[in-house]
Subunit: 261 residues, 2 copies
């Protein structure tokens, strides 16, 4: 797989000392997704699990509903691009998106073709999943421990899918959204359902992060970081338990606290 960090020579200043040294920086890789022979988008991402990223991205943006919509996946190692054949005409989505893209605040990806009203029309999430606060703290602690790319470079986001007990998948990426889409792509490939699952992420929860989870009916969304007002509002309306600033022994429960024992 394409290496996801680069060692470079830098000049370091610490107090009065100034010296040359080696440093590890995170790679930012332009990854182009082609659908039915046409280039759709180039994501700037960390170059691992690019097949998962492509599938998760396409599902997040509504180009596909699931694995069944994909006839063929070819990954071109040389150019680092991926070519997908999907069962239906992608143009309807392209036209929709091109007409008026909704740009996001998200690290890691550009536009979302699904405005909030899409998810507000669907039924609220009623999953009875519930957790003890201690479990939430331990899930976030495990997330931190598994953030290798972050520890190496300080420039990565990490997202995990967990059930009530343990973390199932973890992905890191330079982009907040890419890390999440890699997770969704992995779930698609491995047929993992969401109704009793939890997303644990290092990144801030903006409306489009929330929308991604709401569209998949994920009942519980946990972040080490802040949530936006719009994300909190959408979580309330879609039935998602949204928890932020999970650090040491603290957390903020923004919505649907009934899932927290």
């Amino acid at each position: 797989m394409l290496k996801h960090t680069t060692d470079i020579k830098i000049e370091k200043i610490t107090g009065n000392k100034r010296y040359f040294t080696e440093d590890t920086v995170i790679k930012e890789f332009p990854f182009t997704i082609h659908i039915n022979g046409k280039p759709l988008v180039t994501l700037l991402c960390s170059p691992m699990h690019l097949d998962y990223l492509a599938l998760g991205y396409l599902e997040s943006e509504g180009f596909i509903q699931g694995k069944g919509d994909v006839n063929k996946i070819d990954f071109d190692q040389e150019t680092g691009s991926i070519h997908l054949e999907i069962t239906h005409d992608e143009e309807m989505f392209l036209n929709k998106s091109r007409l008026h893209p909704i740009f996001t605040t998200g690290c890691g990806k550009g536009t979302t073709y699904f405005p909030a009203r899409e998810i507000l029309k669907s039924h609220p999430i009623t999953s009875p999943l519930s957790l003890f606060p201690s479990k939430i703290l331990s899930l976030v602690k495990e997330l931190e421990n598994r953030g290798e790319l972050f520890r190496a470079t300080g420039g990565a986001h990490i997202s995990a899918l967990a059930d009530g007990e343990k973390i199932i998948f973890v992905f890191e990426d330079i982009g907040r959204h890419n890390a999440l889409d890699k997770l969704f792509g992995a779930c698609m490939m491995h047929g993992v359902g969401y109704e009793d699952k939890i997303i644990v992420t290092s990144g801030r929860i903006s409306s489009e992060m929330l929308i991604k989870c709401a569209r998949r009916k994920i009942p519980l969304l946990i972040s080490r970081s802040a949530a936006t007002g719009l994300a909190v509002d959408l979580a309330e309306k879609t039935g998602i338990t949204l928890i932020g600033f999970v650090r040491e022994n603290r957390m903020n429960i923004y919505t649907h606290g009934w899932r927290i024992k």
Copy 2:
């Protein structure tokens, strides 16, 4: 102006204590930019300085070259959208962008219509601007002190434009890119040139952050956070001095250290 934070009721857990309290979250506002009567994009942003954001965004994406390309700006307070009349046909840019958008890793905005090769074709930046390390540390310290939105919500990015002596403009936004584009919009409105200026930002430096600065020939880019490998590579090639992880008395000089005395 539209308020940029929201006070909400949350449930807080600290150790064994669980209680309801007030919390301040950052507002995430869908801001739509219309050009020549057509909606171009909706940015999710912090709802202040939206006129600067619109101008900086349009310049960053190449829809306008400067103030002279804008005939008319109408801000619609009610919908929080902005309508610009520009002197030329925007379709050429739209078509270009729609054909194959480059999505970014950036917090705060979606696509960039200017791939790296655009800036690599232009002349490298040769500005003789130079700074003492102590000045860099003090500029970052001042940036931190002025991050009101960040202190209130933990969910904002801040960017500043400085000369060799002091900070000239500072803007905060939920999005890394928006904060930078607000800065560029302010410079456009007030006729501030870039050749002897410095960008100081809280956010990570990804390739598209670097490209925005390179297109404006800004010689010095300073961040509290990490830089990506691609950003470092582009900084080297375009002649930008790129400095990251500026904290306390430390910094990493990634490229063109000759500007640091």
